[in-house]
Structures are given as C-alpha cells and as structure tokens.
Symmetry: C2
Subunit: 146 residues, 2 copies
C-alpha cells in the first residue's frame, strides 16, 4: 500500500508540485478509493490517520491536484462535488436511489454534435442518471412481497 507512494511522488514532482505528507495522503486516498469521494469523505477518513489534518488542506490539495490535471472534478449532482483519480475519458452513472456513482467506458469520439470547429474543446463529460441493477431488483422484490 505504501509502496505506491514512490509512484505518486514522481507524479507530483513531474508537475512541479511540492510533495508534503498531506498531499501524498490525499492522492493515495483517491488512488485506493475509486468511488468518487466527496471532500467530507476524504477528510473524515484521512483524519483518523492524521489527527491534525485540516479540511482547508484537503480543499487546497484537491484544487492543486485538479489544476495539475492529476484528478477530475465530478459535478453530476449539484449539491456534492466529487473527485476522481481517473482522468481518462469515461462516463459516470449515478443511481437515484442508492446514490452510488458507477464508471463506464465510452468512446467520446463516437458522439456526433453540431459544428463546434471555432470552439476550443478542452474536456468532455458524460453523465447518466437512473437506477442501478441492485436497486432495480430491490424494487421488484418489494413489489412481489406487496
């Protein structure tokens, strides 16, 4: 687990971001928890290991990592900003019932759209919403039982 630390350090150095214990820990958390955590989740979990950790530091770190292109912000819902270590193009599906966010692979280049040739497109995000298989089967189960 601590082994990947070296790799993360390289990533930060490559981008001229000074390494600090807090920054490495945030990055490590995102690497190990690919569930698109919120700031609060990150803070609460890291706080167990680092009792002096401040939420401000988590915010600052996430901003720096995002500006460096190491992480992506997921704004699929308006009341909860989430963070994703996977910066490759992919889609996000949010289940309305359990709230879980699922990754799915999509080929963004397959998407046809109006002529935007005079626009400089830097990023593309695809967000789906609906109900996941687990919650769907729960619904069916409840119906059967009445």
């Amino acid at each position: 687990m601590e082994a990947s630390f070296e790799g993360l350090k390289q990533e930060l150095k490559k981008r001229d971001i000074n390494l600090s214990y807090q920054r490495l820990k945030v990055l490590e958390y995102l690497t190990l928890n690919r569930c698109h955590p919120t700031v609060d989740q990150i803070f609460t979990n890291l706080h167990r290991d680092i009792p002096t950790l401040s939420k401000t530091t988590v915010y600052n770190t996430l901003r720096i990592l995002q500006e460096a292109g190491l992480i992506k912000v997921v704004t699929i819902e308006d009341n909860e900003t989430r963070y994703d270590i996977d910066v490759e193009d992919h889609g996000h599906f949010k289940c309305k019932l359990c709230g879980k966010i699922y990754d799915f692979h999509t080929d963004m280049s397959s998407l046809t759209f109006d002529d935007l040739s005079n626009f400089r497109i830097d990023s593309k995000d695809v967000y789906f919403k609906g109900i996941c298989p687990g919650c769907l089967s729960n619904i069916k189960e409840n119906k059967r039982r009445g």
Copy 2:
C-alpha cells in the same frame, strides 16, 4: 409576451401543478431567457416586477418544475446550479473565460458505451468545457498587440 401565459398554464395544469402568479413568472422567465440562468439571476430580474418575491419561492418553484420534468438542472460547474427550459437532449458547452454556456445539438444515441443493459437510464447529460470563439479571438488580438 403575456400571450404565451395561456400555453404555460396548460403545461402546469397538465401536470397537476397549481398555477400561481409566481410560478408562471418563473416559467415565463425561463422561456424568455434561454441562457441557463442561476437562481440569483431569476430572482433578481423577477424581483423588479414582483417586489414582494421571495428567493425561497424561486427555489421551491424550480424544484417543483424540475420534478414535473418541465425544466432541467444544469450542473456543468460545481459552484453554480443553472436551470434550462429546454428538456430535449442537447449538449452544454461552458467557456472557461467568459463563463457563458452554449447549447449545442448532439445525437446522444450515437454515443457508444459499455453494456449498461441492467441499468435503467433516465437521463443523459453531455458537458463540454473550453474556450468560445469570441474569447479565442480576443486572446489572439491581445497577443498581436503584445
């Protein structure tokens, strides 16, 4: 302008939403201002005509209209919830420089993605970010002038 009121009333009645002056005005504002306004923009503008209007009412109304499927929430940015009267599938492009949000037509059905056949997909959103033509030419202009 007031002529479209009748049409909007029908829309509300069809969905069992009681009509009130405030609700009609919010809906009318969104119909006439298709720039994906924020709550604050809607409130500030309507407040000129309706001095007693409360921001809470704007929030309540937007929630009701959204639940009825009459409007869509645009969460392309994490710090500003925006509202769109156009509920048909289409993409949103946000310019990083001027902040303006542009609509563009896309064919969502052209997008290829992983097997989600066990998921119930209710909505699809496509968000692009980058720089719009106007801001791009401003950049060029500034460079030329040094």
